[in-house]
Amino acid sequence: MKRYLPSAIFLVIILMLWQLGAGHMDAAYILPTPMGILRKLWELREPLFMIHLPATMKVTAIGLVISIVLGIGLAVLMDASSVVEQALYPIVIASQTIPTTAIAPLFVVWFGYGIWSKIVVTILMTFFPITITVFDGFKSVKREMEELLISYGATKKDIFIKLKLPTALPHFFSAIKMAIPLSVIGAAIGEWLGAQSGLGYFSRRMMTQLDGAGVFAPIILLSAVAMILVGVINLLENILIKWRKEL
C-alpha cells in the first residue's frame, strides 16, 4: 500500500485544486466540482447502477471474451505457422494505426443501434493488443528450455503445453490488464454513437441537457469499474504466477 501513497497524495492535491478552481469559476455546466460530481452520482444512482452500468458491462464483457478467444487463437496460429505469422503479423500491427473512433460510426450503419455495433468497436480496440501481447509471450520462450524438452523427445504439442503456455501466462495477464480499460472505452464510444442505454449513452444525454456533473458522473463510474477490474486481475495474477520474476 505504501507505494501507492505518493500517487494518492498527488490525486488529492489535484482534486482539491479542481474543487477550488471549479468553485471559483462557478460554471457547473462546463466544469463541475468533484463534490458536485459525487453528489450527482448519488442522485442518479438508480438509473446509473441499475440500467446503464449493466448495459455497458454487458457490451464490455461480450467484447472482451470474443477478443480474448480470437486474440489467443490468432496468436497460437501465428506461433504454430511461420507462414501465418508472416501473412498476419504486419497486418495486425498496421491495423493498430486505424483510428477506431473515426470508423466507429460505420459500425452503427452496418450493425444498427443494437448491442453488436458497440461490441464490434470494443473488439476492434482490444483484439489486436491481446493478439500481439500473447504472441510475444509465446516468442519469449527461452530457446535453451525448448531444446531441453526436445532432448527429452518432446513433440510440438508437448512444447506448447509444457513450456509455451506457462511462459505466455504473464503476458496474457498483461494483455487482459491492458484490454480492460480499452474495452470499457470501446463500449462507451459505441454507446456515444447511438444507443438506448449504457454509461456512454447516458453521458451524451446529459451533455445535451448542459448538465456538466451528469456528464462526468458516468465517466467517473466507468473509470472506477475499470480500475476495480484491473485490480481483481492483478490479484489473480499475484496468486497464480508468483514465479513471474524468475522468467
Binding site: E144, M145, L149, A154, K162
Partner: protein, 249 residues
C-alpha cells in the same frame, strides 16, 4: 556406448566446417571429460548427439544403434539448471517422464527414489526459487537421471557455481556416477575438474575437429582431492593447461 563415425558438420552460416570425418568412442560406464577452447565445438558435439543439429555426413551410434532409429538414448544437463519456475521440484523432475508418457504412479515413485538419492526429499513441493545454486544443479542432475538414458551429457554444469559449492558438487557427482553406473560425457573448461572427475580426457586441439586427443587419468576410483597434488598429476595439469592456452593464442 557412444560412437562417432566419420562425422562432418558445418554451420550453414560458416564457410569452414566445425568437424570433418570425426571419429571417437566412449565405453559404457566411463566418465569422459571433453575439454577445449571456447567455441572449438564441444557443445556442437553434444548438440549432434542430441539431434538438435544434424550431421552433414557420418553416423552417430549409441549402444550400437544409429541415433535416428532410437529415442531417449541420452540425458542432457545444460550449463544453466533450466528448472521451470512454474513447476514444483517434483513436477520439474516428472518432466522427462511426462514426455515419455509414463504413468503418474511410476512418476511419483521414481521422483521419491531419486529425491532420496540426491538428498533433497524435503524440497519435493518447493519451487526452484527456494533452492540454492548447488541444490538446483542437483535437481537438474536428478531430472537428467530420470530420462532413464544410460548416456548422460553434462555441459559445464558447475561453471556458474562458487568454488566451494563446485568442489562439493564434483565429489557428489562422482558418488552419483558410481551409484547409478551411467556413462558420462562431461564438458568443462576447468582442467583440474576434468582430471578430478574423469577416467579419460578428450581434448579438442584444432578446428575443424578431425580427431580428439585422448589422455588417460592415472588414478582409479574412489578419489579424493589429495591425488591432485601428486607430481605426475600436477605435470598432467600443466600439460593440458598449456595445450588449451596454445589454442587460445
Amino acid at each position: 556406448m557412444l560412437t562417432f563415425k566419420n562425422v562432418t558438420f558445418r554451420y550453414p552460416e560458416d564457410s569452414e566446417a566445425m568437424m570433418t570425418n570425426l571419429s571417437f568412442h566412449v565405453d559404457r560406464g566411463e566418465f569422459v571429460s571433453l575439454i577445449g577452447a571456447s567455441g572449438c565445438g564441444k557443445s556442437t558435439i553434444f548438440r549432434l548427439i542430441n539431434r538438435l543439429l544434424e550431421a552433414d555426413q557420418g553416423e552417430i551410434y549409441v549402444d550400437g544403434k544409429e541415433i535416428h532409429g532410437i529415442k531417449s538414448y541420452a540425458g542432457y544437463m545444460p550449463q544453466k539448471d533450466l528448472l521451470f519456475p512454474w513447476r514444483t521440484i517434483e513436477k520439474n523432475l516428472c518432466l522427462p517422464m511426462e514426455i515419455q508418457k509414463k504413468s503418474k504412479a511410476e512418476q511419483e515413485k521414481r521422483v521419491a527414489e531419486v529425491l532420496k538419492e540426491v538428498g533433497l526429499e524435503d524440497y519435493r513441493n518447493k519451487y526452484p526459487k527456494d533452492l540454492s545454486g548447488g541444490m538446483r544443479q542437483r535437481i537438474s542432475f536428478a531430472r537428467t537421471l530420470l530420462t532413464d538414458a544410460d548416456l548422460m551429457l553434462l555441459d559445464e554444469p558447475f561453471s556458474a557455481l562458487d568454488a566451494l559449492t563446485r568442489m562439493d558438487m564434483q565429489e557428489w557427482l562422482l558418488s552419483q556416477w558410481q551409484h547409478f553406473h551411467k556413462t558420462i560425457l562431461f564438458i568443462t573448461h576447468d582442467v583440474e575438474e576434468a582430471i578430478f572427475l574423469s577416467k579419460k580426457i578428450y581434448i579438442i586441439t584444432d578446428t575443424p575437429i578431425t580427431e580428439l586427443e585422448v589422455v588417460e587419468v592415472p588414478e582409479g576410483y574412489p578419489r579424493d582431492r589429495e591425488f591432485l597434488r601428486r607430481p605426475d598429476i600436477e605435470a598432467l595439469k600443466a600439460k593440458l593447461t598449456m595445450k588449451l592456452r596454445r589454442q587460445v593464442m
